[in-house]
Every structure is written in C-alpha cells, then in structure tokens.
Amino acid sequence: MRKTLLSLLFLILIGLLMANTFSAKDSPWDDGKSIDLVWEISPMAIKVEICRQDADEPKRVLLTCSDPSGSFRDNELEPNNEYHYQLKAYFQDDDLTLSASAQTRAQWFYMGKLGFLLLLLLVCGAILYYIQAARHGKEFFIRRIAGLDSMEEAIGRATEKGKPILYVPGISDLDDIQTIASLTILSHLAERAAEYDTEIIVPCRFSMVLSAAKEVVREAYLKAGRLDAYKPDNVFYLTDDQFGFVAGIDGIMLRRKPAANFFMGSFYAESLILAETGFATGAIQTAGTAQAHQLPFFVVTCDYTLIGEELFAASAYLSKDPQQLGSLKGHDFGKLVIILLIILGVILEILETSNLKEFIAGAIS
C-alpha cells in the first residue's frame, strides 16, 4: 500500500513537472490595446515560437526564443476584440502546440499614472485651497518682482522720449502656455500704454498668436477708454521662419528705436540676437521666459529678467487680484512637496529601496 502511494505521488510529481501551460489575459489598467501572454513549459524545449492568428489576416509570429518560461505583452491591438494565440514548442524529437485566447478590454484608469495623479491632486488642491482662503479675505505676501515693477518705469521712459514700446510674445504658437502667459502680461502693458498714450508694437510669429494678440491689445485700449488711439496695424504678422522673424524684429528695433523692449514667452537660439540688438539701441529691456537655457543670455543683456515661474506669476502680480495671488501660494506648497519628496527619495535610494521612485514613475504593472 505504502509502495503504491509512493509510486502514485512520484507519477503526480513527474506530471506536474512536465505540465505545460500557456495563458493569455487582458493587460490590466490599460487602454485595451494589449494582452499579456505567460507560458511555462518543459525545460527540454529547444525553441519557443508564439504566433497570433487573426480572423482575416495571416498568422503573425510575435516572438521566437528559447526560454521555457516567460511573459510577453502584445501591444497595439484593438479594444474589445478577441485574439487567438498559439505557442509552438520544439523539442528534440517532438513539438508541442498550445492555444490561448483573450479579449481586450479598456479599463477606466491607467494605474501606472496613480502617482502622477496623486501629486497633481495635491498641488491643485493646495492651489484651490489658497484661492478659497484669498476669497475669504486672507492676505498673502508676495515678494517684489523687479522685472514687473519696472514696467511703469519703462512705459514712462518711452512716453518721455516719444518712442514706441516693442513687445515680442515669444516664438511659439498659442498651444505653448508661455505664449498665453505672455499675452496676459501684454494685456496689462497695453492698458498702461493706452493710458500714457504710448505706441506699442507687437510683431507675431504665428497667425493664431496674431489673432489673440490683436484681441488682447484692442480690449486693453477699450478698458483704458482709448479705443481711438488703438492702431490695428501695430499688431502684425511677420513670418513663420524663426530667423526671418528675428531679422524683422531687429529691423524694427534699428529703424523705430523703441525706448523699451519686452521679450516675454518662449525663445530659443535667437534670444541673444534680439536682446543684444536691443541693447545696442539703448532701450530699457525686460525679458521673461521659462526656457532655462536661454535665461543666461537674457540676464546678461537685459535690465530685468523674469525667471521661469515669475513669467507665470506675472498676471497675478500685476492684477493684484487676491484669488490669483492665492494661487501663487499653491505653487509654493507644490515646491515644498517636491523638496520633501527629493529628500525622501535620496534617503530611500541610499537605503536601496526604490518603491517610492517606481510608484511615482508609474512602474506598477
């Protein structure tokens, strides 16, 4: 009896060891465009080939390897479709064919982006909290931003000299948030210029920026009660070409000799050409960009520079609107969170624990 039981156990063990499995499952937490294939077959296999057999298409080989066990993700499928797979394992004298099928299904959330979502909710929540606090009368301190305070001085100088102001809203299109931030500053500047009766020239690189800038400047003149002084031709399109645009602006600077130049928005290699030409004409210059590698050129050649975040804070700073000032406090909270995460991340990396990094980077499968 004992011998029989032992033999039976031995046979079951051999059977388990020899068991070949091949499964296909819809990838979790994705857009329904991938299926996970997992296989485990006898280590005696020389070659493993996995194919996908679609209804109206020929058999497609997805993977060829010699691993007896493994996993593979088939991407770029269509959601809510049934897919059939075949695994063919080749042995010395034999081969084995296994089949599996699965249906793709789109889930309602990208789990890999959970870390990103939580951080975003934290920062946005802080911004909304401080906006609410501002609405209820809480006052927030904001430090002086010299570049924005100087706007009045620049306009005054232009008025005294009887020269125009040049405003360049960057070289990116309207889909760049820096351009939108630039247009908000333009709105305030144009209103001041209208009050002082100073001409403002706004050359644009893209047509959509042109349309938005025209509207912004016109509304600013309207708000100042000086619609009669508004010149639509002062807001114009130059060219889409990067250096053609720069050449055009340089020409305007050298011919019209504006007393004040404002370079606000996204700039690239042409930043120094613009700023240095403006410096040569003796204009007072203020620049602002979030392009970190162009900031040194502006710092060297301009009288005032708005660095990174200051460009986005400009609208709040200039309008002195309590709600917008409150949102700036939310930025500071976000910076505090990031500083704490960096310190925590460094400590965890030293301790060789990368869970936090993987969570934030979205490595959850």
Partner: protein, 232 residues
C-alpha cells in the same frame, strides 16, 4: 453670453483633456485624437490668416509711402516671387502648374524655387544665425566682469567650460595621469554641465512646471481671463 461662452468652453475642454490623460476607456481616447485632428486642420488654415495680415500691412505702407516703404516693397516682391515660382514650376520632384520647368532647369541646373532657396534663402538664414557668434563675443566682453564672489565663480566656470569644449582643452590637460583624469578640462566641463548646471536647470524646470500647472488651472477655472482680452 459673449464673455461666458469661451470660459465655459475652456473649462469643459480643459477638464476632458485632463481626464483623458488618466482614463484609457473610450470615448476619452477618441475625444483626444479628434481634438488633435482639429488642431492640425486649424494650424493649416491659420497660415492663410498670417499671409493676409502680411500682405495687408506691407501694402498699406507701400501705398501711403510711409517711412522705409522700399523695404516693404522688397519684402512683398520676394514673397510673391517665391510663391509664384513654387506654384508654377514646383520644387524638388514635385511638379507645379506649368510642369517641371525642364528648360529652366537645364539653364539654372535646378528649378527656380530651389535655386533661390539654396542661393538666396539658405545663406541669408545661416548669416543671421551666425550673428550669434559676434553677439556672444560682445556680450561676454561687456558682462563677464569680476565684481564679487558670484561673478568670480561665474568667471571660473565660464573659463573651464569654454576651454573644455574645444580641442585646446584636450591638448592642455591630456597629459594628466589616470588618477587625475577628473581635472582634465573636457571632463571638468562635462562635470559642471552635468551636475551644478543640470541641478539649476532642473530647479528652474520644476518651478516653471508648477507655474504651468497653476496658470493652466487658473485658465481652466476661468480665474485668469487676460488671454481672452479682458478681466472679469
């Protein structure tokens, strides 16, 4: 309605695009690809708006003989010439309305559009970019002055990076033994660019990123309205 319609539209579209970043299920993924298609179409049409503005502005200055009207005439002529040449005879392998200009190609060596592109536009464009070299020299002469601790540090790092990024840096310290390889100018320059420079750039990127989040949130919620032309 005129002032609230854009705000409502901005809110709805902003929230949908934000949600689609996290929700893979349809219709969110389809909405985003539709919006992407619309953007491509609008970009194409928007080019026309710019050309109309360009022609209008230049024509006005020419007709009223304002200051420097000759430059505006030259600009319009150049614009018209390239447009006409491209339309009539095409460029590269693409034929124009009048064909491939085989006669002109035999004389010029290439199509008129390509000829002007390579011999007029290319040199002009490269020349303007090359102005950077001169402006860097004059800006460096004017701005790199030793005044205090910060300007001293700036000077030292500038010298190391300038020398390290040239063949001279390799020659000056190439003889250093392996144990002192860190002090090899190109390696020092790479170290400065990779660590202190990258750290500073990342800090600016992070704060700019937060500024973008705050700015975008204000626009989506309608708190920020200057881009539409007016405050509340």
């Amino acid at each position: 309605m005129k002032s609230s319609a854009p705000l409502i539209f901005a809110f709805i579209v902003g929230i949908i695009v934000l949600l689609s970043e996290f929700i893979p299920h349809s219709p969110f993924n389809e909405i985003v690809s539709t919006l992407e298609g619309w953007f491509m179409i609008i970009s194409g049409f928007a080019i026309l708006l710019g050309q109309i503005s360009l022609i209008r502005m230049n024509t006005h200055k020419i007709v009223h003989k304002l200051d420097n009207w000759q430059y505006h005439l030259a600009g319009l002529i150049s614009f018209g010439l390239m447009l006409a040449l491209g339309l009539l005879w095409g460029m590269q392998e693409t034929p124009g309305i009048l064909g491939d200009a085989t006669g002109i190609q035999a004389w010029l060596g290439q199509k008129p559009f390509d000829y002007l592109f390579e011999n007029a536009y290319l040199p002009l464009s490269a020349t303007l970019f090359s102005l950077l070299a001169f402006f860097i020299a004059s800006a460096a002469y004017r701005a790199f002055i030793i005044r205090g601790l910060e300007s001293n540090l700036l000077m030292i790092t500038a010298i190391i990076v300038i020398i390290g990024r040239t063949s001279i840096g390799t020659m000056l310290t190439g003889w250093l033994p392996e144990s002192l390889h860190f002090w090899h100018f190109p390696n020092l320059a790479d170290f400065i660019m990779e660590f202190p420079n990258t750290a500073a750039q990342r800090a600016i990127l992070i704060s700019a990123g937060l500024g973008i989040v705050g700015s975008s949130l204000r626009i989506i919620l309608g708190i920020e309205r200057s881009y539409l032309g007016g405050d509340k």
